[in-house]
Structures are given as structure tokens and as C-alpha cells.
């Protein structure tokens, strides 16, 4: 069944002419992450719009400026969590399944740690203010909660990939789902930096 079309598409010229072809899945995930990024941009834009339209005092009612210790630890846990995924993806490219499994497991542990720290952070914050206290409370919980939801979804996806890899579904040639899950995780990871700056750090400027 392999005919001229196939020969044309695998001929040396065709293969040498362009870099590794991007799959439809890759473009689809990039499109999805783009629209997600736009969504976070709108939320963070909303934060600054409300803050600057309101002026001083900010936060509007007696909410203290947020403490930075816990969020900085959270950052230290989440930011490097992309590295094991990269390491895992490179591993499966060479057919090393143990690297895929180990890397995914490491990232999942780091992500879970981040979420646990966020729960702790919420416990202390909820004693101080809730999402009905004033608009800062609403923004704080909406934005960080929405991001936390994304981390949870990312963890679900990674666990799903890990489960599939334990069953032996991936090989050096067939591992597109690993790469797509990695793109999503990098996004969730990076967008946290923007949130840290907006919700925590910018309050101290």
C-alpha cells in the first residue's frame, strides 16, 4: 500500500528540507495554551485595572499585605518541576522508559507539594479574609484558585501519562502524548510567575 505519495513524503529531499514536522496534536496544544494564556492575561489585567481604578488605600478594607514566605517556597517547588518532565521526555525519545516513569513521578510529587502548600496558605489566609471581604479578597481567591485548578488538571494529565507509561504505551517513536502533557505543564508552571508577581509581589511595590 505504500506508493508514490508515501515515497515522496519520505524521500531524502522531503526529510532534509524541513525540520522535524510538527504534528496536528502539537499545534492543537499550542493553540489551547495560547487561549488559556489569554484568559490568565485577562484575569491579571482585571486585577491591575481594579487596583488602579480604586487607588489608595489598597486593599480597600483592612486586609494586610500578603506575607511572602509561603508563596516563595511554593514558587521554589513549582518552577523547577518542569525539569523532570523535560528529562523524562528526552529519556523516552531514546527509549528509556525508566527515565519517563521516574521523571513523571518526580514532577507529580512536586506538583502535589505545591498544592498542599496552597491549601496551607489558604488556611492561614481564610482566618484573615475571605472572597467576600472586599474586592482584593475576591481577586486573590479567584486568581490563585483558578491557577490551583490548572495545577490539579495538570497533575491529572501527568498521572494519566504515568499510568499509560507503566502499562508500556510509549516507545521511542510513539510518545506524542508525553510531549503534549509536558507543554501544558510548562504553561501552568510559567503562568504562576505572573500570578506571584501580581497577587503577592506587586502588593509590596
Amino acid at each position: 500500500m505504500t506508493g508514490k505519495l508515501f515515497t515522496e513524503s519520505t524521500a531524502p529531499e522531503a526529510l532534509a528540507a524541513e525540520p522535524a514536522p510538527r504534528s496536528t496534536g502539537w499545534w492543537g496544544m499550542v493553540g489551547f495554551v495560547t487561549t488559556e494564556a489569554a484568559l490568565f492575561a485577562v484575569l491579571l489585567g482585571t486585577f491591575f485595572y481594579l487596583r488602579f481604578q480604586h487607588g489608595e488605600p489598597w486593599p480597600p478594607r483592612e486586609i494586610e499585605r500578603p506575607q511572602l514566605t509561603v508563596p516563595l517556597i511554593m514558587t521554589a517547588v513549582l518552577l523547577p518541576s518542569s525539569l523532570p518532565v523535560v528529562w523524562a521526555e528526552r529519556g523516552i525519545r531514546r527509549g528509556q522508559r525508566w527515565r519517563l516513569r521516574l521523571g513523571l513521578a518526580a514532577t507529580i510529587v512536586m506538583g502535589l507539594t505545591f498544592l498542599s502548600l496552597q491549601v496551607m496558605e489558604y488556611q492561614t489566609k481564610l482566618r484573615e479574609f475571605t472572597f467576600t471581604t472586599d474586592v482584593f479578597g475576591s481577586l486573590f481567591y479567584a486568581i490563585t484558585g483558578f491557577h490551583g485548578l490548572h495545577v490539579a488538571v495538570g497533575l491529572l494529565i501527568l498521572s494519566w501519562v504515568l499510568a499509560a507509561s507503566l502499562r508500556g504505551s510509549f516507545s521511542s517513536h510513539k510518545h506524542e502524548r508525553v510531549s503534549l502533557a509536558a507543554i501544558y505543564w510548562h504553561f501552568v508552571d510559567l503562568v504562576w510567575v505572573a500570578i506571584l508577581f501580581t497577587v503577592y509581589l506587586s502588593q509590596h511595590l
Binding site: 506508493g3 508514490k4 515522496e8 524541513e18 480604586h54 467576600t132 475576591s138
Partner: protein, 635 residues
Amino acid sequence: MTTTSAQAVPRAVAVARLEEQWREQRSLRSWFATVDHKRIGRRYLVTAGAFFGLAGIDALLLRTQLARAGGDVLSPDQYNQLFTMHGTAMIFLFATPMLFGFGNALVPLMLGARDMAFPRLNAFGYWVFLFAGLIMFSSQFLGVAPNGGWFAYVPLTDLPYSLGRNLDVYTLGLIFLGVSTTAGAINFIVTSIKLRAPGMSLNRAPLFVWAIVATSFMVLFALPALNAANALLFLDRRFGTHFFQPDAGGNTLLWQHLFWIFGHPDVYIIVLPALGIVSAILPAFCRRGVAAYPLVVLATITIAIISFGVWVHHMFATGLPSLSLSFFSAASVLITIPSGIQVFAWVATMLFGRIVVRVPLLFVVGFIVTFVMGGVTGVMFGITAFDMQITDSYFVVAHFHYVLFGGAVFPIIGGLYYWLPVLTGKMASEVLGRWAFGLVFGGFHLTFFPMHLSGLLGMPRRVYTYPTGLGWDPWNLLSTIGSYVLAVGLLLVVLSVVLAVARGPRAAVDPWGGDTLEWAATTPPRPYNFASIPQVFGLHPAWDRRTLSRLETDEVLPGHQALLTSELDARPQRLVSMPEASLRPLLAALALLVVVLGLLWAVYWLAIAGVVATIVVVVGWLWPPQLTRAEAEAA
């Protein structure tokens, strides 16, 4: 019978095998599980058409109420629900899905592909759209339809001014629908990037495809603003947050900004694909390609970009600093330039072509006349001083109906007549079509032109009645008469489509002599679209003898396979297998429906159950196939 493969099979045998592999059984399961882009596209068109009918009936009721001063057909509350649902449904449940329906049915054919890049995601998008539409329209029959206008300004729509579930239907329904629109947009982009036939480099992609892709990119960047606004409003109303409540630090203008950051691009999200339809119809009836193809493409992209910088012209009267008004006023006037380029390109095409007057062309001409008139009033609104005088009057209503009905509905009807052979294999009656055009065109202008005048005479929009003696009575009566004429015209359109499907003559292959690849396939196309993947050598592949002859002789691409090509030059890259029919898209959409209903009714365990169900379905949907033994050993 030419084939170069080692296991040579005669072409007829290969095609018969293909038929067997792509055949869909006529069963209930197949009806729910299909992923064929043509069937899904037809469903989009029929469903969106039905919603158009419902929202149109809403409008007729409104016009009946306003026919004379002091009318008492509708109560004020009924009137509020009707005009809100009319606008919301026409924008969200008719215009975009209808154009996405054309995109679904036609983009893979125009590209010479066998299906969309993600056929199951495509089916999922349709089901979500259907369910979101059903939720929103059923609210109307239960008397709890949204009632805050289609742009739902706070504080009116926030607590404590809007109690009841009405606005929750609006916020949740639109977020739900957004899932479908986003999925569709990503699908169009990826399909157009990766599945173009070999040789169809970017500078040979049909203008309709360019328009759909530009629209899809706009969806990716604009829709998040609407979704965020609706989510924040839902949180305000249900859980007591303060995003739009100034006494706790919120801001009411935030809603208007977020809404129009989405809303103005959305005008072009609706109009651009319709302009694409115009560019697709014209070549067949002018017997030449659209003039200035590169300029039309650039104009399309320019409109898509500038449209993100004009949203404040909806807010000129809100007391913003005049510096920002000047900026947005300038941008609003600027955007008329690329729109003008397109209009001149169409006029030049007609001027230098040999015109064949048929029904689709009539609707295109009706479009050009009406859209230009809407554009002229649009420039007037771009001027802040004029806008201040006329904002929120019936002049606005007249303007945006000229733009949206003129800019989208005329091309949609023209497209329906033009592509009916592709969609159904039948031809519509020319006579009935001409009558329909006359009534729609006349009825439209009789309805909406007088609104310019009643608006200039000071009639505000969204009033459920008005006293006599203000000089508005004759113009309103004319509008109402016009709306009935328009309705008869639209009924004739429906009638001619139904008659064509029921007992119209079978369409000949390529009945109009179109220039894009959907006319190079059989009419109507087979489920696999093309047995041999087309080779493209120019801008008008269906007018190109090389493409046509190779379609007959090239080797048949067997099985459920599609060819991926490179992003810019469409060089062949590799073959991929396409997914088969599946019930999972429907199940996933149903699970999401449960989430939305749980949130709407405040039955949160139901919503959580829906989330769990969604996860279960999606996990199964995307579970990687077991490696073959050879693959496992190679790893």
C-alpha cells in the same frame, strides 16, 4: 488505472475498498457517533438555522408590540426577555455557529483534505453547541430567559437588581458555548495549517479559508475576555464576590471593558467568514478570480488585528478621558480602510469579469449595497462627537443590523444557495430564489432604514412602548410592516431549501463552475472526499486541468488516512490515520451539560458528579493505543 505501487490494484478496486472502509451504516448509533465533517457541518447549519428562526420570531413579536404607540401585546418583563434573547441568540447561537457550519462542511474540502484535523473534537463541539443552545432557549419557554440586554451591563445584571436565574442562564450558557467555539477555532487553525493538499502553499489558500483562520485566531484571543467576565459575574451573583460592586472596591466599568474587548472583535468574528463566503462565491459568477488576492488576504489579517483596538467606541458616553477617546476614535476610523479594500476588490472583480446572474450572486450584490451603508453609519459612530448625540438610540439599532444582517445574513443565504449542491446534492429553484431575494432585500431595508430616522428623532432603543405624538409612529409602523415582508422572504428561503432537498433536481457535478477544490470532488462529495489526494498548482485548482486530470489518475490513498503537509509550502510530510466514529464526544458533551445544570440549579453535588464523569470520558477518549509487538520491541 495508473498506479505505481508494488501491489498494483486497479483504481476501481481501490476506490471500492475505500467506499467500504468509509461507509457509515444507517443506524441510530452511527447517527450519534459520526465524525464526518460534512454531516457535522450540515448539523451546525440546520441547528443554527432553527435558532435563527426562534430568535426571528422573538423579533417579530417585538416589532408587533412597537407597531403603534402604547402597544399592549407584550408586558415590559416579556419585552425585556424577548429583546435580550433575540440579540444573544442571533449573535452567539446563530451567527458564529452558522458560519462555523459552513467552515466545517467546506474547509476540509477546499483544502483537499479528508476531514478536519480533530474529527472527534469537531463532533464534541457540535454537541456542546446544541446543548448550550437548548439550555438558553428552554429558559425562554420557562419564563426565566436572560433579561439584561445582550451585553448584560452591570450593575443592572448584578445583585440585588437582577434576582432569579435569568442572568445565570446567560453567564453559564455562554461559558458552556465558549467551549464549543474555542474547540472549533483550534480545529480550523490546525486543519488549515497541516492538512492542505500538496502544493497549496499559503499564497494559494482560498480566501474563505483565510477568513476562517483569521476568525479562529480572533476567537482564541477574544473569547477569554467574555468567559472571564461571565465567570466573574457568576461569582458575584452566586457566591458574593465584589468584582463589579464599587462599595467593596469593585468597578462597574470593568464589565463594559471586558465585554467589549470581546464584543468588538466578535463583530468581525461574525463578519470575516461572511466576507470569505462572498470571496468564494464571486469567482464562479464573474468567471475570474477575486481581484487583488494578496491585498484581500492582508486586509483580512489587518482587520483581525485592528479590531482588538477599537472596543472603547462602544463606551464613548461613559466618561472616559478624552485622550483615550481620541485614540479609539482614530482606530475605529482606520479599520474602515481594510474593509474598503475588500469592497473595492469585489467591485473590481465584477467590473473585470463576465457576470452570470444567478441567485447566489444576487445575495452578494445585496450584501455589498447593505454592508456599505452600514459601513457609512459605522464611520459616523467612530466620530466621538456624533456618537455622543446618537448613542443608545434606534440609529444604533439600524446601524448594526445593516452591518450584521447585511454583512453576515446576506452572504449566509447566498452561500446556502451556492453550496446546496455540495451539502445535499440538490439544486434549489432559481425562480423561488429570486423571489426570496427580492422579499428579503426589500423587507430588510423597509424594516431597518426607518430606524435611522426614528433614532435621529430621539427614539431610544430597548423601550417596550412609546407615547404617540413624538413623530415616531409612521417610522415604527413602516419597520413593522417591513419585518413581516422580511419574514416572508426568509420563509421562502427555507421553503426553497426544503423543496430542493425533498424533490429538487439532482445537481450536476460542479454546477456553477467554481474555482476551489470542493467542486473538484463529486457533487455531493463521498465520505472520504477525495480518493486521490489533490495536487495543487495555483490559486484556482478546480479550474486547473493538471489538478483535475491527476485526481483521476493519481494513486488512491487507502484506508482512514490523511496526508500532513508542511505549514508554509504544503510539502508532503507523512501519512496519519484518522479516528473512526465514536460515541465519546457525545458522552463528554453530556457530562459537561450535567456540570452546567448542576451549577445553574445550585445542586453542587450534581456539578461535581458531572466533573467526574467528564474526566472519566476524556481519560478513555485519549487513552493511547497499545503498542504493537514490533513497536514495543523496538523501544
